[in-house]
């Protein structure tokens, strides 16, 4: 019998299933993966925003050599130009015989020498990126890089764009985060220095996070994206500990713990004032100090109450292409009295603490997974006032949309109040253009 309904499940049912029983439609290896425009970020680990390639180039004074079949570098043709890293990307294309013999690996050192001549300025680091073909060939890239370093005199760093291992222990975006920090060397520890890990672009400097941390005696706060030179980047090796703002950095943080003895604390981005406040207090307690966030906390609560009084009862939908965890944001919106009709997102075990909140606050919210083959039948829901996230805006083009997907990363009370301001501006502004045909 033909199924013409898109798969969805309520928040209550999904939370009830538990992290060990996530339904098959949310597990990519259980079915074909539908390609709607909303799944572009999912479908390619090098697709849009910060994929593996752009992320790897966060290492200062580096260039990247993608060693792969031509198809793996195709998106870089467009994205590297749009996002400004075209002159730092180089390609060594595999031939058909290489798929069997692995002979392309023997050409890497020569390629690096030619790149070093062509690149302006001359790089100090070459990040080698290999893809699924080499994963299946069993390429030992670390060995290849060691040999290339010896032959060229440049630092050569391995990185992996293995879409085949997306649900494995080291999915591509987690692995590249480890690569980014892999050149850090152990320095003399500075008690007042920490690193923020998790985002590829800076945390909005207006965030109170910096002020609150300074109040705790932390005066030097490093983010990998802020360093222009390899020498400056090495300051991160002197950090007392790391704050992990995004769970995909956990693997990299573990590596720094093992390699440099640098502990870490998970410190996720939240959109609920009480929880933000609580998180600051817990950090302060762990450090044996105080978090002076009172005025910011009050201001955030006041902004939240005003938003609630004006917009409670509106209907919204939340996607995953946004600077927030979709389930955490959906739960927070439900807490503010909005009716969260749907969430478009993949689900991992990391989602469950937030799903718990959503299931309690809005148990009937329907969760869709953009990758289910049944999503070819998704039809726009008509009674939605606001969508949040680029993908949600695509699924429901007639609703007002807040993409909330900028390069500066919102965080803390400031991020929360900025979100409310942006949402208010969208809701009070002109109606959304009909974007049908742009995103299906």
């Amino acid at each position: 019998m033909r199924n013409d309904q898109p798969y969805s499940i309520t928040a209550r049912e999904l939370y009830g299933a538990g992290p060990d029983q996530i339904p098959d439609p949310f597990i990519p290896s259980c079915h074909l993966i539908y390609s709607s425009p909303a799944t572009l970020a999912y479908n390619s680990p090098g697709a849009i925003g910060f994929g593996v390639k752009r992320a790897g180039l966060l290492i200062p004074e580096s260039v990247m050599l993608l060693v792969s079949p031509a198809c793996c570098g195709r998106n870089s043709t467009i994205l590297s130009s749009e996002e400004g890293y075209a002159d730092r990307m180089f390609y060594l294309l595999m031939k058909e015989a290489d798929l069997v013999t692995g002979r392309h690996l023997s050409r890497i050192s020569q390629a690096i020498r030619e790149i070093a001549e062509a690149a302006e300025p001359r790089p100090k680091v070459v990040v080698i990126c290999i893809t699924c073909a080499d994963a299946l060939l069993g390429t030992d890239l670390e060995r290849v890089c060691r040999r290339a370093e010896a032959e060229t005199g440049l630092r050569v760093v391995p990185s992996y764009m293995y879409a085949l291992e997306r649900e494995g222990r080291k999915p591509p975006m987690a692995a590249i985060r480890k690569t980014i920090y892999s050149l850090l060397e152990k320095g003399e520890k500075e008690p007042d220095r920490i690193n923020l890990m998790g985002f590829f672009t800076p945390v909005d400097p207006r965030s109170e996070l910096f002020q609150v941390l300074r109040g705790m005696g932390i005066r030097k706060i490093g983010q990998v994206c802020q360093y222009d030179s390899l020498d400056a980047y090495q300051k991160m090796g002197r950090a007392n500990f790391n704050l992990v703002l995004h769970p995909e950095s956990r693997y990299a943080a573990e590596d720094l713990l093992t390699r440099l003895g640098m502990p870490y604390i998970e410190f996720p981005r939240l959109f609920q004032p009480e929880r933000i406040h609580q998180q600051y207090q817990l950090l302060a307690a762990a450090l044996g100090t105080r978090a002076e966030d009172g005025p910011m906390f009050e201001a955030a609560r006041k902004a939240r109450d005003q938003f609630r009084s004006r917009y409670a009862g509106l209907t919204c939908a939340v996607g995953e292409m946004t600077n927030a965890d979709p389930f955490e944001l959906a739960a927070s919106l439900a807490d503010m009295g909005l009716r969260v009709k749907s969430v478009f997102s993949n689900v991992t075990p990391d989602s469950f603490p937030f799903l718990k909140r959503l299931a309690a606050a809005s148990p009937d919210t329907r969760i869709y997974t953009g990758i289910s083959p049944s999503m070819i039948h998704y039809e726009e829901e008509k009674d939605v006032d606001l969508t949040i996230g680029k993908d949600a805006g695509g699924y429901i083009p007639s609703a007002r949309n807040l993409e909330w997907f900028g390069e500066l990363q919102p965080y803390g009370f400031q991020g929360f109040t900025d979100f409310l301001s942006a949402a208010s501006a969208v809701l009070e502004g002109p109606a959304s253009d009909e974007r049908k045909g742009v995103f299906l």
Partner: protein, 417 residues
């Protein structure tokens, strides 16, 4: 060194070309990849993906699936898509992953057909070759599919290997995948025409996909220009791959003429010429306004047009009509048919090299330098590698090279500076 791209970046690969041909044909398209290839195909090489729904799926292959060769799991996975998409056939699109593990497409197709009762076609694309080779394979597979679905008076004259699992009782021809049979043939264009009068009927245009047409309305404009050139009503001109349906491939033996507007169309046109005696020719009618592209080129210059071969030839024809003082050569980083290439020549002391297929970046740089071209007309991406300050650079976007970066809003805009 060969294969190293320091200035350019990879063009659309063969798997994108295959999907481009099949996108509008109503099939369930399954890219045999882990997800990244599908993301690249849909997000960067298929502009229609943002405009209409098409049943394009990634097989979502994972490492252990590949290592253990779990074809049965892939067949199982098709179930939900078959149940939810109203597909007339299944198309399996190869990528590097099945190439490395040596997937037997024929066996996979047989399993899928047996399980779901739908015709199954495939392209043994590997993500290594450029787009036009994959598009060629998809065209040949489509012809096989059409023969199976619609039959035809001369269907029994099929002379080429098949990439479709045939209906029960019809023996499959050949043993290799589509696209391999006629590639590289040097049969002269139009050789199928003979001296018999052209039969009445439609004109089919092969090679017409967004990867080779200038803009979203490129197929429409091309049909209009071809209709005017051929003296047939517009609705008798069908661009296979864009604005066409599977039904347009009915009665392939009865078409009046096959036109090839891009190199991916050579193989299907030759195959149909051999099977049905249908005449064909390579032809990309370029509007006369395109002559303006040469307006800033000084008198008596050497000019290089870098594009897909058939479009480049069409543009050269228009430019030479208005500017006989120019010595124009065409070259391409994609397949060129030697039979269509103009040999070395020259006049008034201006030597011109032969039209040349360039394997890569190094060869492009050397070709331009050694032949002392004064002007290059081509995709702006090429200009990254052509750094001589004296060179006149005239942009002419090619979607297969630069994707949507320089794509004009409409066909008309493509031909003006």
């Amino acid at each position: 060194m060969k294969g190293l791209y320091r200035y350019l970046s990879p063009a659309a690969p063969d798997q994108s070309g295959a999907v481009s041909v099949l996108f509008e044909q109503g099939g369930l398209i399954v890219v045999l990849d882990a997800g990244g290839c599908t993301g690249n195909i849909c997000g960067f090489d298929e502009p229609r993906w943002f405009l209409r729904k098409s049943a394009v799926y990634s097989a979502g292959i994972r490492d252990m699936d590949a290592i253990l060769g779990r074809d049965d799991k892939l067949i199982d996975k098709l179930q939900e898509a078959v149940d939810t998409a109203d597909a007339r056939f299944i198309a399996l699109i190869g990528t590097p992953v099945p190439s490395v593990i040596g997937t037997d497409y024929r066996a996979l197709a047989r399993l899928a057909r047996k399980r779901y009762g739908l015709p199954v076609i495939w392209t043994d694309t590997a993500g290594i070759d450029s787009y036009e080779k994959g598009a060629s394979k998809a065209y040949l597979a489509l012809i096989d599919l059409a023969e199976e679905l619609f039959g035809g008076e001369k269907a029994d004259r099929r002379a080429f290997p098949s990439s479709v699992m045939p209906a029960p009782g019809v023996p499959a021809a050949g043993t290799t995948a589509a696209g391999s049979a006629d590639a590289g043939s040097t049969e002269a264009p139009g050789s199928g025409s003979g001296s018999a009068p052209l039969p009445a009927g439609r004109v089919l245009v092969w090679g017409a996909t967004p990867l080779d047409l200038p803009a979203a309305d490129g197929a429409l404009c091309l049909r209009r220009r071809i209709a005017a050139r051929e003296g047939v009503p517009e609705d008798q001109v069908v661009t296979i791959g864009m604005d066409s349906r599977l039904e347009d491939l009915r009665d392939l033996g009865g078409v009046r003429k096959n036109l090839v507007c891009a190199p991916s169309g050579f193989a299907p046109a030759r195959r149909l010429a051999k099977a049905f005696g249908t005449p064909w020719e390579a032809c990309f009618p370029v509007p006369p306004e395109a002559a303006g592209l040469a307006r800033d080129i000084p008198h008596a210059c050497r000019v290089l047009i870098l594009h897909q071969q058939v479009l480049a030839d069409g543009l050269r024809e228009v430019l030479e009509a208005g500017r006989p003082d120019l010595q124009i050569t065409t070259a391409s980083l994609f397949t060129m048919d030697p039979a269509l290439a103009r040999p070395a020549g020259g006049f008034d002391g201006l030597a011109a090299p032969p039209d040349t297929e360039l394997p890569g970046e190094d060869e492009l740089v050397r070709f331009v330098k050694e032949n002392h071209f004064d002007a290059v007309i081509g995709d702006p991406i090429y200009f990254r590698a052509l750094k001589s300050p004296e060179l006149i650079r005239i942009p002419l976007a090619h979607f297969a090279q630069s994707g949507g970066m320089y794509r004009p809003a409409c066909d008309e805009d493509a031909w003006i500076i």
